[in-house]
């Protein structure tokens, strides 16, 4: 039965995310796809040229198509013509690899949810890079003088790509334009930047157009981007953003430096000048290699930053790709090894028919090994992508386990906060408890004892607004609000969808746990109250007794003592009398005796109430005195020091009670009483070897109850063990220091 997590509070993002209409979003995505296809097409032309250089029939077909007076004919003719001046195969592989990697990265970025501005721009930039810096594709384009349409389309595409690349480098990573000036001065700055970009265009006026394009793209964009990122790095911001800016600044700086070096050393002249309007078919390989290198640095740096700082949620995509790529590799490897390898070795190469059983064997191995391999690869991919961070589902399952096993122990909440922080990649996570109409912070991760937020009153059925958090989720159980979970991410970061879902799921799971925690808290406070009241009662009782004893001592006892003294004086006076004073002396003697007895009784009574000996000399002496007076023989071992009043009283009266019980029920027994310090507390054991009593027969009686009351009021324990015919053992223990009420649920 899912608990409701009805309301979710997201702190308003900084005002960069203007709502974008669905139509606009659709248009953007359509354009992204179109750009991608155009780039892919241009790159494929280069591939086609290389293929035509290997395959004469394809080359001839291209020429036949090339005779068509259509745009397609021009394309085919270009491909056919350039197939004679293709790069060497390794160079071609480098070019194509470079372009395909950039295109692949751009495909990843397509999946970024709307809300991150830098991602789509970066995707456009990567696609532009893939097209511009593919030398083979460029050669295909250059193979024919271009029609106006072709020039505008081709160059326009490249200019657009360069522009978006520059924009991507400027707005990365948070989507804002920099610097944060007023609009007019900022536009002025941008105009100046564009003008600066045109300088290399002017310097390179003599160079072929594609060289100019390459140089401007390769120098201008890094320069603009580096300036923007330098500005960002020096402004205050979240640590993650500053690190990303620094990373990109370094990458762009290196790229710009390489480009400037190329410009200064005149590398562009290694490209054959378009000799005075004549067709040139020489490929400026060096130039392109240099700029490919320069412009690989940037995406590499970006993706390193992305994985380090979790900027775009490409994690699931990447893990899936890794897993499936590895699985494909696994399946292929099995087939290769079994069919080709084993087949080759055992059956000799070229045995076609015998491959069927081997193929079956390979299929069997794949079928059996698929699941384990997938599981293993998922773990590896997760470790690669997430590092020490758990995947969202690991977080959830870990949390469930903790909730299950930790019931309501002290650090459950802290662990909850820890798991929450880890799972969402937040700087800080808090767990709040709703107690007494207040939302109180109960646990924080990372632990921060110095700074705790103030409790917030709950006025509505929903959780109150919590400041300075990125997201807050209410925790409910069966409709009742028990608390809240909040996370604080670095500034300007939002939770990804995955993380939001995780928070909601954690919130649901946390309902029961928080309910238990609250119950436990309440229980604990009740227990505290209870103990306090018991102590009060006991203390009151003791106080009363002491008072009584005082009164007796000061009052009745003193008077009796005075009477005894008077009687002694009367005896002396009677002695000096003549005549038959014997009956008088006898009477006086008797009176003295009775008074003494009364005094003795009073003393005993007082001692019974609260022996002064105990207060004065402690347990050892007081108990020894009692032991001597008892009717059975008691062996006492009480070599202990002094303790506080309550403890001594408790031990004394318990032992007394035990002695009395033994005297009453035990018959002819010998008794040992031991008092010692153990386990940071005082323990007393009174044992007798007598007849014992059946506990079930004899009601615990006031004695046993009294002992238990006294001891438990002090957080002590009592244990009475008696078997008929074997004796009784009373063991009690009182801690020396009272600890706060610890709650142990069964």
């Amino acid at each position: 039965m899912p608990d409701e997590v009805s309301e979710v509070q997201s702190s308003p993002a900084p005002p960069r995310s203007l709502p974008i209409s669905r139509k606009a979003l659709f248009a953007l995505r359509a354009f992204y796809v179109a750009f991608f296809l155009v780039t892919l097409t241009l790159v494929s032309f280069g591939i086609a040229a290389k293929v035509a250089s290997w395959s004469p029939s394809f080359h001839d077909q291209l020429h036949i198509w090339g005779l068509e007076p259509t745009q397609w004919g021009r394309v085919a003719l270009r491909i056919a013509d350039s197939s004679h001046t293709t790069e060497s195969t390794p160079q071609f592989a480098l070019d194509t690899g470079f372009s395909l990697v950039n295109l692949g990265l751009a495909a990843f970025l397509y999946r970024i949810k709307a809300g991150h501005a830098a991602a789509p721009l970066l995707g456009f930039a990567l696609m532009g890079t893939a097209a511009v810096f593919n030398l083979q594709a460029q050669a295909v384009y250059e193979a024919l003088p271009s029609s106006r349409f072709e020039i505008v389309f081709h160059d326009g595409f490249h200019v657009a790509a360069a522009f978006t690349y520059a924009m991507a480098m400027v707005v990365f990573p948070d989507g804002h334009l920099v610097p944060r000036w007023q609009r007019v001065p900022r536009l002025g700055l941008y105009a100046v930047a564009v003008a600066i970009l045109l300088i290399p265009v002017a310097l390179l006026r003599d160079a072929p157009r594609n060289v100019v394009l390459v140089m401007v793209f390769g120098i201008g964009v890094p320069l603009v981007g580096a300036a923007a990122q330098a500005y960002r790095y020096r402004r205050p911001g979240t640590e993650a953003n500053r690190q990303l800016s620094r990373l990109l600044l370094i990458a762009l700086g290196v790229a710009a430096a390489i480009g400037l070096w190329a410009l200064l050393t005149g590398l562009q002249r290694s490209a054959e000048p378009a000799f005075q309007g004549r067709d040139v078919q020489v490929l400026p390989v060096q130039l392109y290699r240099v700029f490919q290198l320069a412009l690989s640095i940037v995406p590499l740096a970006l993706f390193a930053g992305i994985f380090r700082y979790r900027l775009f949620s490409v994690d699931k995509l990447v893990t899936r790709t890794l897993v499936y790529g590895a699985l494909a590799g696994f399946v292929s490897a099995v087939y290769v090894v079994v069919v080709v390898g084993v087949g080759g070795i055992i059956l000799g190469s070229g045995s076609g028919r015998a491959n069927l059983p081997l193929s079956i064997a390979a299929t069997f191995i794949v079928a059996v090994g698929f699941e384990p391999a997938k599981g293993r690869m998922e773990r590896v991919a997760n470790r690669l992508v997430y590092g020490r961070r758990a995947t969202p589902y690991e977080v959830l399952s870990e949390f469930s386990t903790r909730v299950a096993e930790a019931a309501a122990t002290e650090d459950l909440l802290e662990r909850m906060a820890h798991v929450l922080a880890d799972g969402t990649g937040a700087d800080r996570a808090d767990v709040w408890l709703a107690v007494d109409n207040e939302l109180r912070p109960a646990a924080t991760w990372p632990p921060n004892p110095t700074h705790t937020a103030a409790p917030l009153p709950i006025v509505a059925p929903t959780i109150p607004w919590i400041n300075d958090v990125t997201n807050a989720v209410a925790v409910r159980h069966q409709g009742e609000l028990f608390g809240a979970l909040t996370v604080t991410k670095p500034a300007n970061e939002e939770l990804t969808t995955t993380e939001e879902n995780l928070m909601n799921d954690l919130g649901r799971q946390a309902g029961l746990a928080l309910r238990n925690v609250r119950l436990t808290t309440e229980l604990r406070s009740r227990l505290e109250e209870l103990r306090a009241s018991r102590q009060r009662i006991v203390a009151a009782g003791d106080e009363e007794r002491r008072r009584l004893e005082r009164n007796l001592h000061d009052g009745a006892q003193q008077e009796l003592v005075a009477v005894k003294v008077q009687l002694a004086i009367a005896e002396d006076m009677a002695d000096e009398l003549e005549g038959d004073t014997a009956p008088l002396l006898e009477l006086l003697e008797r009176l003295k005796g009775q008074t003494g007895e009364a005094l003795e009784n009073l003393r005993d009574l007082a001692r019974g109430i609260y022996p002064p000996l105990l207060a004065a000399e402690g347990l050892r002496v007081a108990l020894s005195a009692q032991a001597r007076k008892a009717s059975v023989e008691i062996e006492l071992d009480a070599n202990v020091g002094r303790f506080n009043q309550e403890i001594e009283a408790a031990v004394y009266f318990c032992c007394l009670e035990a002695f009395q019980n033994i005297a009453k029920y035990a018959g002819d027994c010998s008794v040992t009483a031991t008092i010692r310090e153990v386990d940071e507390g005082v323990e007393f054991v009174v044992e007798d070897t007598g007849c014992g009593f059946d506990r079930s027969q004899v009601a615990a009686g006031m004695g046993g109850r009294n002992m238990a009351d006294r001891l438990e009021a002090l957080d002590g324990t009592i244990d009475i063990d008696s078997t008929p015919g074997h004796g009784t053992r009373v063991r009690g223990w009182i801690p020396l220091e009272l600890k706060p009420a610890a709650v142990e649920l069964p």
């Binding site: 203007l18 001839d60 036949i64 005779l67 007076p69 745009q71 991150h116 349409f149 326009g156 067709d279």
Partner: protein
Amino acid sequence: MNATATRTVAFVGALCVAVTVFSGCNSSGSANTLTIQADYAHDEFAGSLFGFFPNKVTVKPGMTLKFHQTWTGEPHTVTLGTRVTELAAPFRDELDGYFDTGELGGEPEGYEGFSNGLPFFFSEQGVNQTAAQPCLARTAAQLPADGSACPNTTLAPFDGTEVYYSSGFIPFEGSRGNTFDLPISSDTKPGTYLYYCNLHGAPMGGEITVTADGAASKQSALNRQAKREADRMAEALLEVYRDEKAGRAKFKGNIAGSGDERTADVFGVVNEFTPRTIRAAVGEKVTWTMIGHNLSFNVPPYAPIFIVKDGGEVAFNNQLDEPAGGWPGRAPPLSDDPDAPPPHPVHVEAGNFDGSGGFKSNGTGWATGDTYSITFTKKGTYPYACIVHPGMIGKVVVK
């Protein structure tokens, strides 16, 4: 996605859409037009193939034949008419055979009458305006014999009855951009009409078959046939060119141009400097064997050899004129006397060149085997070209 990125992307998108919409394609593949290639740029060498590819096409009245010329430096015309057909009658069979097989024997019987009876692109005065300008002559009187332009230089759809119908010099519109449209009138009588280029002669020609009931040629079939014929012609040229590149050919060392006995009967030519890059030391004499062409350093940007002036006159492009006093390195004039001992091979020592100023070896009068030598006195890279042929470029790297 925030507003900034949306604006950026919208701008870029609008740019691209505008480009696509307002530039438009230059395709013109309508069902009513068939395209024939005039000349052919082979992709393995810069050169000229003097022919129309394919040289035979079938059309229906009302269609248009588009002649698409790949500019290789050579001017071409498309010339038809009853006079062309009549004068070619004596050797029509051999011509047909050439169209079909690509094998050219010597000059056939009756060819001289053909050449003399039709306007030729050049005259003693220079460019023959009759031949070089468009001409529509329905009667013999409308075809001047004095080299002046035809009275009617505006063409109408060809209907087969014209005495002389010529495109004139197909003007240069950029490499691979020259086109000439030949509309076939809907009342053209079915039959086969011969056409040719009046600069390069009858072998650079073809046949247009007009049919009323049958089917017109398909463009894809025309393209395939074009490729076949072009490859056929280029075969011998390629063989020799490859040999030259490998150093196995008749002439060793640096060669300007290409060809030997194997290419003598091929109606096409490779226009290349072999090797394209020559490495030399300062003070070292660099020698080329000239197989036609010229070597021009520091020449103006490429311009076609002929221009069309305002008013329609076709003239030599004066950008390519020599300065007063001529360029250094002019070859000695050829002797007109066929009995005089051959002045060739001629060896021209052009002297020192330090890279400044214009420098051009004279292009006419070379015969195969003549040589031309230059001594470079300064370090540097010196690109040069043949002034006539745009793809014919090379460079000397002097260290």
